[in-house]
Structure formats: C-alpha cells, structure tokens
Symmetry: C2
Subunit: 143 residues, 2 copies
C-alpha cells in the first residue's frame, strides 16, 4: 500500500515535528540513524517535501530541516501523494482503468469502502495531530 519511500518520509516528518522548529533545525546526519533510514535516501525524500513546502529547510551552516507550525497543518495524505502519487493509493486493485461503482472489478466491493475510509482519515489527519499523539505516548514511531 505505502512504498518504502513514503514510510520513511512519514517517519522523518513526524520525527522533525517533535524535535524541530524555526529555531531548532536539524541536519540529516543528526537524525537519519535515529529513525533508521539511510542518510542519502532520506535526504532526497526530504528535499522533495521541502520543495513542495510540506516541511522547511535552510542551507548553509546552522541550517537543516525543520517544521513550522504552519507546516504542521499539512495532512498525512499530502505527504503520501507527493512521494507515491495518487495512483498508487487510489487505483483499481485488479487493474481496471478506473476504480468506481459504475464498473467495479470483482474485489471492488470488498476493498473499496474500507479503502475510502482509510483515505478519508489520512486526509483528515495533520502532521500536528499525529505529533500530538506521539507526545502523549499514545503511539510509537518505528526506529
């Protein structure tokens, strides 16, 4: 469902949401191993997210990646869509051109309602929401 890349991106974004802000930036090398993702790999992903304004970054000495309150308003789904694309998450699981009720594949009725629910939730939850859950120790970030 999710690619490795978006798993990694989500982990990194949430880690940054907990540990950074405008005045506390963090370099890739200082957190990549904390979330157990290869440095060069996560760097590439975060660069893409920074370009798309989901997270923030600053070049040069004392620079790094960081997440502002404004960044935190972005949803989990936005991150997934940037990394994986809409198609991966919304297309027909058996390969029909379109996935909809008009011309459903044999497993559409089995998976579509659940998947829609899932997508709706991922669209409704922001980085901030999940960061709060983490702070309250209600959930745990994989290493």
């Amino acid at each position: 469902m999710l690619s490795n890349s978006s798993k990694y991106a989500l982990k990194a974004v949430l880690y940054l949401a907990l540990h950074t802000d405008e005045n506390n930036k963090m370099m890739v090398k200082d957190f990549s191993e904390r979330i157990n993702v290869p440095k060069a790999y996560i760097a590439k992903l975060l660069q893409e997210l920074a370009k798309r304004k989901i997270i923030s970054s600053a070049k040069g000495p004392y620079g790094g990646f960081y997440i502002t309150e404004s960044n935190k308003k972005h949803t989990i789904m936005e991150i997934i869509e940037i990394i994986d694309g809409k198609k991966r998450i919304e297309s027909c699981m058996l390969g029909l051109e379109d996935c909809n009720e008009k011309k459903p594949c044999p497993i559409h009725s089995l998976i579509s309602p659940s998947r829609s629910k899932m997508i709706a939730l991922l669209k409704s939850k922001t980085i901030d929401d999940l960061a709060k859950d983490l702070e309250l120790n209600k959930v745990f970030l994989p290493v």
Copy 2:
C-alpha cells in the same frame, strides 16, 4: 497493497472459474492474452497455485488448467497469501516490528480498522462467490 503477481493470479483464477471445469480444461496459451497477462508469467503463477491445490491442472495432450467445484471453495485471501505472503498484507505500514493495539504506530488507528475489515472480507469470499458475481454481470474482470 497487492502485487502485480497476485492481481494477475486473481484475474486468471476467476477467468478459469468461469470458463473451465473437469471436462473443459484450458491451456495457458488459450487464455493468457484474454486476460492480458504474459503467457510465461501467468503460467508460473498458476503452477504455484496448482501445487498448492487452489486450482487443478493436467499435463499432456488435452491437458491444461481448470477449476473444480471443490477448488471454488477456496478464498480470495488464500490466493493472495500464496502469491504475496501474509507479511505484505498484514504488517505495520510504517515498519514497526508487529502491528497491534499494544504498541501502535502513528497511523495504525487510521488504517488498521479498515484494513482488518478488508482482510476479513477477502477471507470470507470464495472463488465461487466472485465467479457468481461475474456471471450475473454485477462485476467486471479487467482485461
């Protein structure tokens, strides 16, 4: 969520469920293009399913693959698990060791209930169920 391989396998199995039985076997070369899957590729997948008794096969002249009433009692999930493995479908989406309520990852509560529902449905539906839907033109098999 599903690999290409299990998509293909499902398409092939459902096609066979509609068009074959003990007395009407079908060779790979006679249906692979009907479901738009490379001949050698689908052959390999079906051989695995035949070995696991999900479908039936006969070697030699007048042989081929076919699906018996007994075969039709197998569930969709069985096919997916044989091709993709349990892990692909049930593991934590962010990469936690185990996926459960005891130590949930940040998106567990967003995706787990829906996914469980989905899995339950895939486990409850048999090849026969979906074949019947196809016969009634309630659903459509991707080419």
